[in-house]
Amino acid sequence: MSADMKVDKVMDLKGMPCPMPVVKVSKGIKDVEVGQVIEAHTTDPGSLADFPAWARTSGNEILKTDQTGDVIKFYIKRKV
């Protein structure tokens, strides 16, 4: 968990190729309230482009993206 951000749910989406990370996160975000934050971990390099596109289209917000080695961490705020 990031020190400066309160995370309400963590999703492990490592090892999943397209379209599963986006499919799972679109479902998972419904488990938190509007205004809450989920942290999603992926290893699919395509998700670097896909998550922002999904967020823009679905009306949610990516607060931060961290990449350490193969793992990409997205901090996503549910807005709708």
């Binding site: 379209p19 499919v23 009306g59």
Partner: protein, 174 residues
């Protein structure tokens, strides 16, 4: 002239819904996979999704467990020669007598790519609507009783599909 164009545009864009209509014409494993990846991806983006299965796409929706009798010779022939459901599809290229398809399937498993069976279940879970072309079914001698159980299944013709496509933002032909 310009005004007319503007009006036509307006008419066209009015009533456009956040919707994807896919025409699944192909019966190949690779193309079907693409169709399902796009459909489930679109559903994840919050889009309303319709998949219209026609011609070679129609046998994808046959249920391998269901058997129906009373078919004529041509119906029996098509029934035997066309794949019975998504698990029986072959690659459009490099099939190599089934070897290529088997290799691709094992590779998909290894790389965690969802199988077509999984994708179909996922589509159902995500409220993707499936339309089946009645004319193709009739042509190939398929009966309604041999098609899959799917929560949102409609047997229809071209008009029903076009009605959905007309007010959708995105349309794909696969």
């Amino acid at each position: 002239m310009k005004e007319k164009e503007g009006k036509a545009m307006e008419k066209h864009s009015a009533g456009q819904e956040n919707k994807l209509v896919e025409i699944v014409f192909s019966g190949d494993l690779d193309k079907a996979l693409a169709a399902f990846v796009i459909a489930t991806g679109a559903a994840a983006m919050g889009m309303d999704v319709v998949m219209f299965f026609t011609f070679w796409g129609t046998p994808l929706l046959r249920d391998k467990k269901k058997k129906v009798g009373g078919k004529d010779l041509m119906g029996k022939m098509f029934g035997a020669m066309l794949p019975k459901g998504v698990s029986k599809l072959k690659l459009s290229k490099m099939n190599m007598g089934g070897m290529g398809t088997a290799m691709m399937k094992s590779l998909m498993k290894k790389k965690n790519v969802a199988s077509l069976e999984d994708m179909l279940a996922l589509a159902a879970e995500m409220d993707v609507r499936i339309f089946i072309c009645e004319m193709s079914m009739d042509l190939m001698g398929f009966k309604r009783e041999e098609m899959i159980d799917y929560p949102n299944l409609t047997f229809c013709g071209v008009a029903k599909m076009l009605e959905e496509a007309q007010n959708s933002k995105v349309q794909f032909f696969i």
